[in-house]
Symmetry: C2
Subunit: 336 residues, 2 copies
């Protein structure tokens, strides 16, 4: 049964377990430092589909089908799936999951979606509302560019603070069945807004949310950064990671010895010309569900905080002069 | 503690309670049959804001502030808020709730969002993950027209099957504290798709999902339609309601004696020229959180199934030739 810990954290005393996970990615990601860790990495980002959006749906569908195979589970055995993505009305998720007929609770957390969906799956299974719950999310470079910025054919120039949206997806299955990776607690994020307006600097927009959630978790649990092997953010990238460390240091919390960021891990930052690093729901999803889960499963990582961040804006809001609010959700995992 | 009932339903044996609710609406809704039931109904749909999108955010912010006042609750006393809307990246919710600093789990269920957010709030409080949880959603005629169809200045003609997006919002507070309206169970929807492609006929697109979820709930609970005072759908409108009844009748389930639809209730269908009826997240939200909750509170309604439906498409998907999948989430409420 979930319990409240401190002001904002939800503890799962009996624990729930990530029984299986799948990380899949596209061509650029395959060529990056984590290429060999993905369950599947495609050579062509179209995935044989007619449009980029259908390709992104195919990423989600593929991730979940592989997940079900890994877990030897039929779709009918999954009580609920939590899914979301960056596209308007979350169409990657809808069309990607349509054929599987699993009860769906659509989630919107922008790039924080992997942590959010895992958190939801954890709470539902810990409470008995579901026996088995799945979590999935995706992003795609081309769908994101088309929707948030400009079609790639335009040849627009990217600023140094800009990030590269990952073409990738991650899926995970959670239940109370014992397995090596255990979810212990969840901290739900709050909207943070330090009035960053530069849509080409998402790292700066999102760092405040990460600082807020991480510090609230540490306070609630009365723990310190070095109690953990890794405090992993989703896609703050280079700029956002530096800012996160600064923001936390102002309050006497130094996470630098244990911090890493999926957006910095997924690409060779200089060699692949991704400016500030990777971004998108698929960034933390593909990295967490492959590389991180593999390390946690083997016990090479034992105690991890996974805090994915999302920038809660849209082009419409930016055009109306609004700033970019952000949110970060955190889950605490251990090798059990 | 939540329990599984049958294949797909989540039972809440100890019950959770809707301690307070607020329905607010705009001018057209104020002039409709339920005008006097709304907590607040505005004379001007701009709500003093500069843009339609900011006005819609103001609807959510207003709904939640009135909710907190009604419940004599400070924002800090709410452990989590579930919110979502129809706009790209759910910006109505983000900007509407930003100032309140309540931990947020963004939900996407299109027009099913009121049922979805209530379901989430119920499960979180039943499980102990939250002591108090809020649910809120909104829609706005002008933001929806701009995003999904055409700017209103264009003067486009609406077909007979088209529905009118409600300018309105609903918010509710859920906890285990006893009060007259109890949530007993939740059935999470599955994506349904009978290949309807006409974006001007959302009722037809969504009816299959409503039929699916309602029939699964009845089967899981071994109950029949006439066990309930009211089986209330969110915004099927005229066309969708007829289709729902037909679809269920094919399987020997007749809900016609007890069925009603918020989209048919909120407007004078002929007199206000809304063609097939009202639609949008705010349709079921404003009606349920005002009129229906008032009836349930007084015991004039005793046993209600509230099944809101959502059309999970976007203009991009339609432009790519896709059909319109739908989903329906159901909650079972009683006067306790």
């Amino acid at each position: 049964m979930p319990i409240r810990i401190g002001k904002d954290t939800i503890g799962l005393p009996e624990g729930v377990f990530v029984n299986a996970s799948v990380g899949i990615a596209g061509k650029k990601e395959k060529e990056g430092p984590l290429g060999k860790y993905f369950d599947v990495a495609f050579n062509n980002d179209k995935l044989g589909m007619k449009t980029w959006e259908k390709a992104e749906s195919e990423l989600q569908n593929t991730a979940v089908r592989i997940l079900l195979r890994k877990a030897a589970a039929a779709p009918e055995s999954i009580d609920v799936i939590f899914a979301g993505d960056l596209l308007n009305q979350c169409i990657s998720s809808t069309y990607g999951l349509r054929s599987l007929k699993i009860p769906l609770l659509g989630q919107f957390g922008a790039c924080s979606t992997m942590a959010q969906t895992l958190a939801m799956a954890a709470i539902f299974t810990a409470s008995g509302a579901a026996l088995r719950a799945a979590a999935v999310t995706s992003s795609h470079f081309c769908t994101a560019e088309r929707q948030f910025r400009l079609p790639i054919e335009y040849g627009g120039q990217r600023s140094p603070t800009a990030q590269w949206t990952v073409t990738g997806a991650g899926a995970a299955l959670v239940s109370r069945t014992l397995s090596p990776v255990r979810i212990n607690a969840v901290t739900v994020g709050r909207i943070n807004d330090l009035k960053v307006k530069d849509a080409a600097n998402m790292g700066a927009a999102m760092a405040p949310a990460a600082a807020d959630t991480i510090s609230r978790f540490l306070k609630d649990t009365n723990t310190k950064p070095t109690d953990y092997d890794l405090i992993l953010t989703g896609d703050l990238g280079r700029v956002g990671s530096e800012l996160l460390i600064k923001l936390l240091n102002r309050h006497g919390t130094d996470i630098s010895p244990v911090h890493n960021d999926c957006g910095l891990m997924i690409y060779d930052i200089e060699g692949q010309d991704v400016h500030s690093g990777g971004s998108g729901c698929g960034c933390s999803a593909s990295v967490f569900c492959s590389y991180i889960m593999q390390k946690l499963t083997k016990g090479e990582l034992k105690n991890v905080l996974f805090a994915a961040t999302g920038a809660l804006m849209s082009p419409t809001a930016s055009q109306q002069g609004e700033s970019i609010p952000s949110i970060a959700h955190l889950i605490s995992l251990t090798h059990s």
